[in-house]
């Protein structure tokens, strides 16, 4: 992999001046992913913050060919682009080597776009799918998604008198995609840029489908100050909320192995969406959150052959 010095000299494929919020994890995720590409890249995005903020007509922040179609079909759309590439290349109408990436938020990936993603992965297109996961439908004003953590207050799972935020645990999408037995699946975080760029590089280099699930906080939805985006991402990894791992040709590998996980409260406490969990009488909710993390961490370690 390139050094940080070399990476800093690579041209930015998503230019500055887009309209994403200060502290938004999405654009950081996109830029780090694109740093891992060494060939011509064609990108697509699901409807969401990334799309509306980077393509307000007549402007576009994309310095590479880009397509937005709709919310639930970023994967299907890019699968069509990849198929066109294969056809045109076979017929001698284009020569250049190209790679394809589809972006989507967790709403467009875990929920409404899951079928389209699963279909594209199963069909084996040579494409990378990147989910920038901020744990809710942020573009429409912070509604709960299948990725929203247990206990989080969102506008459709508010913390009220009888319901303390989202009552369900998260869906584990990375494992679901790993079960498609595609060449490369990884979970990464914008706080661990080296790990992320390396994973992106692997994802682009494999022949066939690859999937990256990237922790990308949203200060608006998380009720966190803009300047702690990277810090809170790091804590998500250190607490085991967002383990960094990869599944390469079926081999599971844990990429970050702390001796001991930090308590989940380190991740929850700085975020306004979990404030109600810290009220007296809600201790059992924090215990539930911790128990889930412990269970998942122990399962993942076993899966990766780590003691």
């Amino acid at each position: 992999m390139a050094t940080i010095k070399e990476l800093s000299r690579k041209p930015e494929l998503l230019t500055g001046g887009h309209r994403l919020c200060a502290g938004c994890g999405a654009s950081i995720a996109v830029r780090q992913v694109l740093l891992g590409a060494n060939d011509q890249v064609i990108a697509g995005s699901a409807t969401g913050c990334l799309e509306v903020s980077t393509t307000p007509y007549p402007f576009s922040a994309w310095k590479i060919p880009f397509i937005h179609n709709a919310f639930e079909n970023s994967a299907a759309t890019i699968s069509g682009v990849e198929a066109a590439y294969n056809a045109l290349k076979r017929r001698g109408k284009i020569e250049k080597k190209m790679k394809f990436v589809a972006f989507g938020g967790d709403g467009g990936t875990y929920d409404i776009g899951l079928q389209s993603l699963s279909g594209a992965m199963e069909r084996g297109h040579d494409m990378v799918y990147v989910c920038y996961d901020n744990g809710a439908y942020m573009n429409t004003g912070i509604q709960r998604s299948g990725s929203t953590p247990f206990g989080a207050a969102t506008t459709t799972s508010p913390a009220g008198k009888v319901r303390p935020g989202k009552p369900q645990q998260r869906k584990d999408l990375t494992q679901i995609i790993a079960a498609h037995n595609i060449p490369y699946v990884a979970q990464a975080s914008i706080s661990h840029w080296k790990d992320l760029v390396k994973k992106a590089e692997k994802a682009f280099s494999v022949e066939g489908p690859a999937f990256l699930n990237v922790m990308a906080p949203c200060p608006r939805g998380w009720r966190t100050p803009n300047e702690i985006t990277i810090e809170i991402s790091k804590i998500s990894v250190q607490t085991g909320f967002w383990p960094l791992y990869e599944v390469e040709d079926g081999e599971w590998k844990l990429n970050f192995k702390p001796k001991e996980l930090k308590p989940i409260t380190d991740f929850l406490k700085p975020q306004g969406r979990f404030r109600h969990l810290f009220k007296p009488g809600n201790e059992h909710l924090l215990e539930t959150a911790q128990a889930e993390i412990d269970k998942n961490w122990s399962w993942l370690k076993k899966r990766c052959g780590v003691e």
Binding site: E51, T55, W62, P65, I67, H68, S79, V81, S116
Partner: protein
């Protein structure tokens, strides 16, 4: 039949096999499709062409019709020549994508084998599926026979990709009646089709010139959205001339001349029936029989439903005394079926206009025999004779009371 300009082969095939054959001869870059009755035999037949190396199309076996149209949009934006096919619920599932395809001005060609929309679920013919998608910015062509379905498929490519059109085209034929019945028709040589459709090279694409990157599908706020919709209106209005240009070019090649619609014994007619699709054949038979009895009746068979040839239809029907429009779909909550409502509107400002009555028939594959068409013509004759006033309410033909 006019003298053919080129050698053709007579075949006996189903309408669906004819469409698949046209697709084979076109050999598109990408096909993304999902099976649904009664379209399925098209995608099966095409899969055979792929499996046997007869075509070198990238064939994407998507997991739904939504993804079929999504992948078609991606592939078409990429710069490929793209085709697909669907029916009924599949078209309904694509609905969101239909207006994106037209707004992005992507020349995707889709066989739509007409089938009733659920519910209740039904697999047989009516036009409620494509009529439900009539305002999505697509060009709509209707075929009566397997011959027309085959011919329209080939013409659709040229129409869609024309630089002044760049719109998706839906090419319809009737489920089971045309799709599954074996018909005799003429097919062109592969080389003639290849030459006719030509090479496709779009001006803007994702893949042809990545150094000058294009963004497809940007976010258009109130300052820009309206103008883009206007461009769509201008494009589809203007496509009428191109549809006819391609149709005339095709006639030179095949000897088969089509129009925006067909006029059958309309010149001296007092009453006329408007139909689209396979019912035109039965209608012709009834017209000939009634003409023999001295009834001056004719038919207007619509081929191009979008862009709607309002002016031409008004012109063709202006001298008729009474017109009955037969719709194979119902637009519940309005005056009647969509073709009826639009033709009535098309005639409103004509100085001379016929009395009009709307009929719905054949929903969910209900058989439409000559008796129903005789009923319509009988009704119209009574109106002309002053024996009854034109009915305002739509008449549902062949329904059990």
């Amino acid at each position: 039949m006019a003298k053919t300009a080129t050698k053709q082969k007579i075949v006996a095939m189903t309408g669906n096999a004819g469409c698949a054959l046209a697709m084979k001869q076109i050999n598109p870059d990408v096909v993304a499709a999902y099976p649904i009755t009664p379209q399925t035999t098209i995608v099966e037949e095409f899969a055979n062409y792929v499996a046997n190396g007869v075509v070198d199309t990238e064939y994407i076996n998507v997991e739904s019709e939504h993804s079929a149209m999504s992948a078609c949009i991606g592939a078409s934006a990429a710069g490929a020549r793209v085709m697909t096919s669907t029916s009924s619920q599949g078209l309904a599932l694509m609905w969101e994508e239909l207006s994106i395809a037209s707004s992005l001005r992507l020349p995707i060609v889709m066989q739509t084998v007409n089938r009733a929309l659920s519910g209740p679920i039904n697999i047989h013919c009516d036009h409620s599926d494509s009529m439900g998608a009539r305002d999505m910015g697509w060009i709509h062509l209707f075929a009566e026979t397997a011959q027309e379905a085959y011919d329209n498929t080939i013409m659709a490519i040229k129409i869609a990709e024309h630089k002044d059109v760049r719109l998706p085209v839906m090419s319809m034929h009737d489920g089971f009646i045309t799709s599954h019945a074996i018909d005799r028709f003429e097919v062109l040589d592969d080389a003639d089709v290849k030459k006719f459709v030509g090479n496709y090279m779009p001006k803007h694409s994702l893949l042809y010139n990545p150094n000058e990157p294009v963004t497809f599908g940007p976010f258009a706020m109130p300052a820009f959205y309206y103008e883009q919709r206007k461009q769509l209106r201008v494009a589809i209005d203007g496509s009428k001339d191109i549809v006819m240009k391609v149709t005339d070019d095709f006639a030179k090649l095949s000897g088969r001349q089509y129009g925006l619609f067909e006029e059958y014994r309309l010149d001296d007619a007092d009453v006329a029936v408007v139909v689209l699709g396979s019912t035109a054949g039965t209608t012709r038979y009834v017209i000939d029989a009634m003409r023999a009895q001295g009834v001056k009746v004719g038919m207007l068979k619509l081929r191009v439903f979008r862009p709607f040839p309002a002016e031409e239809i008004a012109q063709a029907l202006s001298k008729i005394k009474a017109v009955g429009v037969m719709d194979r779909s119902d637009t519940v909550g309005t005056l009647g079926g969509p073709v009826y409502v639009e033709i009535k509107a098309a005639l409103y400002n004509s100085k001379q206009r016929p009395a009009m009555q709307g009929y719905v028939y054949g929903l969910g594959g209900r058989d439409t025999g000559p008796d129903q068409i005789e009923t319509v013509i009988g009704d119209l004759v009574k109106v002309v004779k002053g024996e009854q006033s034109p009915r305002e309410a739509v008449t549902l033909l062949g329904v059990k009371e």
